[in-house]
């Protein structure tokens, strides 16, 4: 086993194990942390494929920014763990049966004999002067300009949708106006009323 194979299997095993943990651990905070580990392990796999820029972008953007934000959101949410676990045991046998049947069928249909280096040749190795970042930069705004622009439109739609769904204008909200509070005069607040004394009959 070469060193590359060793690292591939190590990262692959880590990815699968941590991805399984994302959906099996009970505490949502642990689930988010497992997802972070999944991203880090897949970044390792990308490094093995000579996609250094993507690997580092994945760690910086997803792990560094998106997942931290996500972690905050999960911690802020008041999640009832007991309700989440409701029905877990009841659906477990069915879920496991379906999952096992699917995995078996997929393994029977596409077994290892359909893959391997003799079927799909390994990509050509580049020398130390090769730069993945440069290669990406050359195609991103030229060959892939159309998909790139569509991706930016998708992000615009996401912003529009997020704002449309969460922005609330509340015209009836009561709030203080300090200017008026300071400028208030006694006559505005206190009214002297002269009342006739009540007469007892």
């Amino acid at each position: 086993m070469t060193a590359e194979q060793f690292f591939f299997y190590a990262f692959a095993a880590m990815t699968v194990a941590s991805a399984a943990m994302v959906i099996t651990v009970r505490n949502p905070v642990y689930a988010v942390l497992s997802l972070v580990l999944t991203f880090v392990a897949s970044a390792g796999l990308w490094l093995l494929l000579e996609a250094e820029f993507l690997a580092i972008a994945l760690v910086l953007v997803y792990v560094g920014a998106v997942m931290v934000l996500f972690l905050f959101v999960v911690m802020m949410l008041d999640i009832n763990l007991a309700r989440l676990k409701e029905g877990f045991i009841r659906y477990l046998p069915l879920g496991v049966a379906v999952a096992v049947a699917m995995a078996l069928m997929m393994a029977l249909v596409v077994g290892p004999e359909h893959f391997g280096l003799e079927r799909v040749p390994a990509p050509e190795r580049h020398g130390p002067e090769y730069s993945n970042t440069e290669a990406l930069g050359r195609v991103l705004y030229t060959v892939y300009v159309y998909p790139f622009e569509i991706a930016s439109v998708i992000l615009t739609v996401a912003i529009v949708a997020a704002i449309a769904l969460t922005l609330r204008r509340r015209p009836h909200t009561k709030y203080q106006n300090p200017d008026e509070q300071i400028a208030v005069r006694r006559e505005d607040r206190v009214r002297l009323v002269s009342m006739k004394p009540e007469r007892r009959e």
Binding site: V110, V120, T142, V143, Y146, T156, V160, L165
Partner: protein, 475 residues
Amino acid sequence: MNFAIPDMAPALPEMFVLGMACLVLLVDLFVSDRGRGATYVLSQATLVGALFLTLGGTPEPVVTFSGTFVRDALSDVLKAFIYGVVFFVFLYSRDYLRDRGIYRGEFFVLGLFGVLGMMILVSAHSLLTVYLGLELLSLSLYAMVAMQRDSVLASESAMKYFVLGALASGMLLYGMSMLYGVTGTLDIAELSRAIAGVEDRTVASFGLVFLIIGVAFKLGAVPFHMWVPDVYHGAATSVTLYLGTAPKIAAFGMLMRLLVDGLGSMQADWGPILVILAVLSMAIGNVVAIAQTNLKRMLAYSTISHVGFLLLGVLTGTPDGYSASLFYVLVYAVMGLGAFGMILLLARAGFEADRLEDFKGLNERSPWFAFMMLVVMFSMAGVPPFLGFWAKLYVLLEAVRADLVWLAVAAVVFSVIGAFYYLRVVKLMYFDQPAEPVPLQAGADMRVMLSANALVVLALGIWPGSLFALCEAVF
């Protein structure tokens, strides 16, 4: 590195819609709730302008943007119908949205972005663009369903749609990754060439299955239909109208791009899968629709059965079959507009008119619109001489020609079962007493356009030749 600037002219309609959608977004910021008419007029102008740009294009097929974009007869016809259908959707929705306090610019902006997603989808020439177009469309739809924030039903259905839609996108991507692994290309034309030269097709057909799952989910074919009734029922009726018409045209385009353009040489593999989807959709759609008391749910199941018919033409794998299916999907979109439009016509502030009993005695309240609804229902049931009859006839003929007589017989049996629930609506309108004999309150534009919509169904039913010739010319 040498790079030639791509020919951008074929993508002019896309660029126009994108630019106008951004403009509408900005203009909407500065108008008050009373001036929302400006947003509406600009959105409609966008659709009309895009229609002219699309019709003004060159007739011969063009592939541009490094093989990620194609403009041909199929994309032009589908786009033209998408603009037309969405134009009607916006027009029908205006009063309904205003009555419910959700007459906001976002409906039109998201609607236009959805149109852009559909255009990208039907013009896709790369697996990457198919996926991106689908995501753009789906994201707009999820947001539109969820827009009625105060309604628990709408939020719930948006959540269901979102979770199931994300799952289907994942399946689609998995299938695409398998195909990329086998052929090493994302370009649909190159994919088609590469697949023809692959000897061991096991992995390719494995990917194909996941691809079909993704498309079947978008179309709402059984067994990937679970979201359809809930989302149609939960969403505001104007959103259901949008959701149930134009995206079906786009999903048909996606089916053609992926299966026919990309994997045409694997027809022997995908044909039988589509047969199963078609039979199940026709059976479940028609039988379960009988049990519905809510008209929106009933029409949702009716959509599922129509999708079954639509697949009938595609699965034959012949150009005649494709044009029969194209004819079917265009006809379905026009009929769907009429049916959901009728619910919008009857709805008023605080009253949804989406139950079957709300249509009781419509003949006494408005004989003209009762007749219009009769036209649409008869057409959906496939009664001659209405438009739906020809659509069903053409796909059945193609199925028989492809030696699938048993399938055609099954389709006829299920559509006879389905006729029951369409005719029940007609019976309610003509032979029952109205619960509250209030006159209709819709505006003049809505009345005129809805009548035009139903009269088109009637007129094209009597002279179906022109529309069918258009569909035949595409393939």
